[in-house]
């Protein structure tokens, strides 16, 4: 800045280029995950410094879910969301591509977009001094015929900060703040094999229906993320009464559990599934949906093969690292946005196949609302557990105590020819251990070469291909 004694107009003009923060390395935090002994230190759920490191190492670098293509079909259509705690606008451009920008005016920082979503926006005008930005993020103009008279004002280099990379996979749009991040496909690794169970089980693709449901839960974001990555164990106790009410019986993982059920993990993304065809779909309470899922499973064998076709409606759950989760069969998709170490904002959508009949879409929408919304039978069960798992650690002595993540430490399945780390049985802590291992990799490494070649990368399977 020009402090008074500088002469000449060119001096001291602000550099308004976007800033993409560099990652650091936090080996001490990485050690909070003890792989040897299958334990996680409770500080990862409560410590403010750990949380700030997560924002830097994980949320400023990972590919994060932004929106479904179907939410913003036309130029100017937009949704507002978060990447970590950063407020972001995701908007369809005139050329059909999607861009995302920080929702903060480069003048004094005010939000430029106040609403959750909108159609055909012409641009975004900041409420404070009237700076106006196009849907391409560029500063279009200002207010009051003031800046025009100031010859030093360089409008062309001012704009909303673009999210460094935006890309989509089969309808789902993701973004990362890291210009050096590997591509979205590399970030997924072979995990797309499992994502396709929901995203590619029918020709015509998928869409979100019925808007979003938002709520807050006073828990650390990793409790729900680890729950969806591989904790079907809790369903037997936590969800028993809900299941009883809807199904007239308990949670059932299918007769062929021992033979079929497994967990798979790549780069911390994980899915657990029982391959029982319709166990999840059944809990929505509509017989028509069960029929639909059975038929779909039959039809999808051509696209996905026998195994993945069985997973479409099965008792199963999935998290894409770090905080995007969904339930196959129940079709609820959600992001656990961190809001400090002890709070999340949860946003939930319902995904359906575009080609599904209207009454089926409607039953999915209602079914999800009755089960996995703030007032839903199952969501309520979960929230309270995660809140107390978080809150108890305010106790100084409590938070020194060890936690147990050791179910199935010797259950690795080397035989099954599936992508990633495979473990036998869905009742297992394996995916959760790998989720925290990925977390530790992000804490430790400041570069993508190390990030993509650590313990969570898919193991090289040597023998299987030859046989």
């Amino acid at each position: 800045m020009c402090e008074g004694d500088c002469k000449g107009a060119a001096k001291g003009r602000p550099n308004m280029k976007p800033v993409y923060p560099k990652a650091g390395s936090y080996p001490d935090f990485a050690k909070l995950v003890d792989r040897e002994n299958a334990q996680v230190d409770r500080r990862v759920f409560t410590d403010e410094q750990v949380y700030q490191a997560e924002l830097r190492q994980i949320f400023a670098r990972s590919w994060l879910f932004l929106a479904h293509e179907s939410q913003i079909p036309n130029p100017g259509d937009f949704v507002r969301t978060s990447m970590g705690e950063d407020d972001v606008i995701v908007v369809r451009q005139r050329d059909g591509s999607v861009n995302a920008f920080l929702n903060s005016c480069p003048h004094r920082g005010n939000r430029v977009c106040m609403v959750d979503a909108g159609k055909k926006a012409r641009g975004f005008i900041c409420n404070y001094h009237g700076w106006s930005f196009g849907i391409d993020g560029a500063l279009r103009g200002t207010d009051g015929k003031v800046y025009e008279k100031d010859e030093t004002f360089e409008k062309a280099q001012i704009g909303l900060t673009p999210v460094a990379q935006v890309d989509s996979y089969k309808g789902l749009i993701f973004g990362t703040f890291d210009p050096d991040a590997v591509s979205l496909l590399e970030f997924f690794g072979d995990f797309t094999y499992y994502l396709d169970i929901m995203l590619d089980n029918d020709e015509g693709g998928t869409e979100f229906i019925g808007g979003a449901i938002k709520s807050e839960i006073d828990c650390n974001w990793k409790f729900p993320a680890e729950n969806f990555v591989g904790d079907i164990l809790h369903a037997f106790w936590t969800h028993q009464s809900g299941a009883q009410a809807i199904l007239g019986g308990g949670v059932d993982l299918g007769k062929r559990y021992d033979e079929l059920a497994f967990q798979a993990s790549i780069y911390g993304h994980g899915i657990e599934t029982n391959l029982d065809k319709v166990g999840n779909t059944r809990t929505l309470g509509y017989p028509d949906l069960v029929d639909y899922a059975f038929e779909l499973s039959e039809k999808a064998k051509d696209r996905l093969g026998e195994l993945r076709a069985r997973a479409i409606g099965a008792v199963s759950s999935c998290t894409v690292f770090p905080n995007f989760s969904f339930l196959p069969g129940q079709n609820t998709f959600r992001v656990w946005h961190p809001r400090g170490p002890g709070k999340i904002e949860l946003v939930v959508w319902t995904l359906v196949n575009k080609n599904a009949p209207d009454h089926i879409k409607e039953q999915y929408r209602k079914g999800v609302m009755m089960t996995f919304s703030p007032g839903g039978v199952f969501e309520m069960d979960d929230g309270e557990n995660w809140e107390y798992s978080t809150r108890v650690n305010q106790g100084f002595v409590t938070r020194q105590q060890p936690l147990h993540y050791a179910l199935g430490i010797e259950s690795a399945d080397m035989e099954r020819d599936l992508p990633g780390h495979i473990h036998k049985g869905s009742l297992n802590d394996a995916n959760q251990r790998l989720f925290y291992t990925r977390w530790a990799e992000f804490m430790e490494h400041d570069n993508w070469t190390d990030l993509q070649n650590g313990a969570t990368a898919a193991p090289k399977k040597t023998a299987t291909a030859a046989e």
Binding site: S132, R140, E148
Partner: protein, 109 residues
Amino acid sequence: MMIELCPSAEIAEGEIKRVDVEGLPAVAIARHEGALYVFPDRCPHADESLAEGWLEDGRVICGVHFAEFDLDTGEVHNPPVGCPNLSFFKCEDRDGTVFALLTGDNANV
């Protein structure tokens, strides 16, 4: 005096084009349902370029704060506070060239 601006073929249907005129402020030329409209390339609200805006339902939309001006009367809609109406210059398409009366009072067509 009518001043020559540009070949009328350069103004496509539904588009606005900026034309610089020596010694005078730049003008914008728009074509809507075949007809040509010439007006200052300066939004009456805060002086921003209207050629960088667009046409929508028979109105010029300013791309900055989204004031909308009727193409026939210049009447402003959705005005930011204090935004006056837009004035148009008399114009003609003479054998494929756009001419407009840029001096004297602006006259709404």
